[in-house]
Amino acid sequence: MTNSPLATYQPDQRALALIGGEATDANLRRYLHGIPGIDAVGLEARAFDLGTRSIKTSSKRWAIDTIIGLIDLTTLEGADTPGKVRSLVAKALMPDPGDPGTPRVAAVCVYGDMVGSAVTALGSAHAAGGTDGVTVAAVATAFPSGRASLAIKLADVRDAVAAGADEIDMVIDRGAFLAGRFGQVYDEIVAVKEACRRADGSMAHLKVILETGELNTYDNVRRASWLAILAGGDFIKTSTGKVAPAATLPVTLSMLEVVRDWHRLTGVRIGVKPAGGIRTSKDAIKYLVTVAETVGEEWLSPRLFRFGASSLLNDVLLQRQKMTTGHYSGPDYVTID
């Protein structure tokens, strides 16, 4: 599909060409409401079906290591300190001290003011846009509610980028989205994307958090996914982790379908990040299956898929130890960060 005429546009022009005019509420509404709806029962049945795949032996071993390499190891607490972040980074670099062959996680995810600490702690292991090493993701735009003026949100983003964040996890204005002010949501994402530009002209990667638990319907999730991609998001992310329900398999499936359709339409690959609520290897494997069977196996790379999680890592490590040694260990055989 890369020969599609749309592929020759710059992202914003392409979006405008698709929308058929300026990104006004009316134009966006017309476009987003023209997208086929979702039958909730059917979507959930499909997700359940994908969840019944039986991943055993060599496939499971590959899945376990792949999951570790896709994790954004996260701490987003009011009580976070540089010390806590150092501990998190140490865990990210050496998930299992008992087995130095264990892969590193993809990134650490922290609040904006902790970016400096994370970068320092990573030192030479900081990937800084490269592929080898661990990147730093920062939540921004008045995370998690997003209830602040645009100026504050943009300042939040610029601060994090200046401090060395490789990735920005922004939240959309759910209030504006639910009130039908699609243009405002679109413009904010475009502005945040611009704020991701570094002094040298390169860009921090932009993940757009939809907070699907507040959008409530799958149709809304699908429309918000399209909106975020049209506006230039590099990744679409389910949740902040601060609202229940956070990531679910059906929600993630519906977002993957949007990403698949966008790729069919433009040849461009957008990433997906389910975040919050994925705690076990078994659940995470269901996500891998869903990704592979919906958009294809090439999405199982940190460039295109991430898990936003904290407790997941230790469960995966326990499974990994079980597969290596043949017996189950316990929570004291994996480290807390």
Partner: protein
């Protein structure tokens, strides 16, 4: 490695204790058949699983006599709540032995273990649970107060859902107070015989259910037996016709569930990804061996290309292979004969000018297999748009308006099932109202539930199975007092007084227990 080449995850056969030979189940015991035994094979490997007995005329006669004896002596005298207890017990035993039954069904039929595990066997248990609850509530079955059972029911079932079809037949028959002689299909007798073991475990009185095996001639002998009061048949329309012909002029009650050529109608406002799933489920579920399969896809012209593109991508993710592997989506075709028929009709489709496309599947060296296939550019006059293929083959037609969709959907001698995909509720209701099909699914396909009646229009048969309506096939209105039925009335009175007596005894002992 490629993640999508999932490592093998076969279900274990260890808990299956199969015998090498199976007899007939008559009057509560397994006995040798007097016909020539035949082998039942695993269609995925073509290897023999066991030898199955053939019931000859004398065996059929013995089975019907046993059923008659059990009807007169035991079953028709039991209270509804006591019949219900047996049915509940059977349902629980099916659940307890679910894994074993699922493995046996997959071995014998060729369908994937995920379907037997998640669909067939759970529905078998659900059917018995559902009708167990009806057994003491027959006054509300819709045939008037105190309806009467019919007597001995002869039931002949197909090979596509062997144990599920057995449950659809036996559960309502027993709940209504009839006794049964059942003949499973020749290629899939195994789980019916395991079910007979469950009946022994449940202590069901001897003769209430008899299971006889054999080929079509055994079935014909059973259906034509003069001692039978009711015939229930599920299978092909041609055999159904001959069944109807052979019992014409007798007082046997008949219900038929026959073929179909279901239309799956996708409107341009459909939830597209779920519609694609529904198309897949409609035609590739159980290798398309489904009488109510959505074998004709009617897609609105404006979205035809998009739907077909999505469907092809989805079909590439279907996994064909070892039915016992938990990740298998498409299992084996049930028999060489059926495979030949699917091939013949598919070749005909190509000759008629339709465009054939099959998913790229590696076909195992042994066994009977057919890649999931769709035909586009199909016209209503093509054989593949009219004949039931009973395989994983979809014919795609287009329409422009709802009226055209309805006209094309109804333009078939069959009338078993249809599906409608649209986000607009009013359109779904309006179209469903005009479809001449026994089952219409909205934004879903191939969903079954014991509380929902199932059956056909036109050449798809008559009578309903499932739900309250399913009981009507096994009941008749109470015999009213009048000159013609004095004898019957007397008989009823005597049996009622006997019942009262036994109830009296029971309540006395219950009182004792209460003290």
């Amino acid at each position: 490695m490629k993640f999508l080449d999932y490592a093998p995850a076969p279900e274990s056969k260890a808990l299956l204790g199969l015998k090498s030979d199976y007899g007939l189940f008559i009057n509560g015991a397994f006995i040798a058949g007097r016909g020539t035994p035949f082998q039942t094979i695993n269609p995925a490997t073509e290897q023999q699983i066991a030898m199955i007995a053939t019931a000859n005329e004398a065996d059929v006669d013995a089975a019907v006599s046993a059923a008659r004896h059990a009807y007169d002596g035991v079953w028709s005298r039991l209270s509804g709540s006591d019949r219900g207890k047996y049915l509940f017990r059977i349902a629980r035993l099916v659940q307890e032995r679910a894994r074993e039954l699922a493995v046996a069904e997959t071995l014998d039929n060729g369908k994937p273990i995920k379907e037997t595990r998640d669909v067939d066997i759970p529905l078998v248990a659900a059917w018995f649970f559902y009708y167990a609850g009806w057994a003491d509530k027959l006054d509300h079955a819709g045939v008037g107060p105190s309806p009467a059972s019919l007597g001995v029911a002869a039931q002949v079932i197909p090979w596509n859902f062997p144990l599920m079809m057995l449950a659809w037949k036996i559960a309502p028959a027993l709940a209504a107070g009839n006794t049964v002689v059942l003949k499973p299909a020749e290629t899939t007798s195994l789980t019916a015989l395991l079910f007979a073991e469950i009946l022994q475990q449940a202590d069901l009185p001897a003769g209430v259910v008899n299971i006889i095996t054999g080929d079509g001639s055994t079935g014909a002998t059973l259906v034509n037996h003069p001692g039978v009061n009711k015939v229930a048949f599920t299978g092909s329309t041609s055999v159904g016709r001959s069944v109807a012909r052979s019992i014409a002029g007798t007082d046997k009650k008949l219900s038929l569930e026959l073929g179909g050529k279901g239309a799956n109608i996708v409107f341009d406002d459909a939830p597209i990804d779920q519609a694609v799933e529904g198309i897949v489920r409609g035609i590739f579920f159980n290798q398309g061996h489904v009488c109510c399969a959505g074998s004709r896809l009617l897609v609105q012209e404006s979205i035809h290309d998009d739907v077909i593109d999505r469907l092809k991508r989805r079909m590439q993710t279907l996994r064909l292979g070892d039915p016992l592997d938990k990740n298998t989506d498409i299992g084996a075709i049930n028999s060489a004969e059926q495979l030949a028929r699917i091939r013949e009709l598919s070749d005909l489709g190509e000759q008629e000018g339709a465009e054939r496309w099959s998913a790229d599947c590696e076909i195992p060296p042994n066994g009977f297999w057919f890649s999931p296939t769709i035909f586009t550019n199909v016209s209503t006059s093509h054989r593949i748009a009219r004949d039931e293929i009973f395989g994983p083959v979809l014919s795609v037609l287009t329409f422009r308006t709802p009226a055209e969709a309805v006209a094309k959907a109804n333009n078939t001698p069959y009338g078993l099932s249809a599906g409608i995909w649209s986000d607009k509720g009013s359109r779904i209701l309006a179209v469903a109202d005009k479809l001449r099909a026994g089952v219409v699914w909205a934004n879903t396909f191939n969903q079954f539930d014991p509380s929902s009646p199932f059956g056909g229009y036109k050449e798809s048969g008559y009578g309903r199975e499932g739900g309250r309506h399913g009981l009507a096939a096994y009941l008749k209105p109470a015999v009213r007092s009048g000159s013609r039925s004095i004898a019957a009335a007397n008989q009823q009175t005597s049996s009622v007084s006997k019942k009262t007596a036994s109830v009296g005894k029971k309540s006395a002992s219950a009182e004792k227990a209460a003290k």
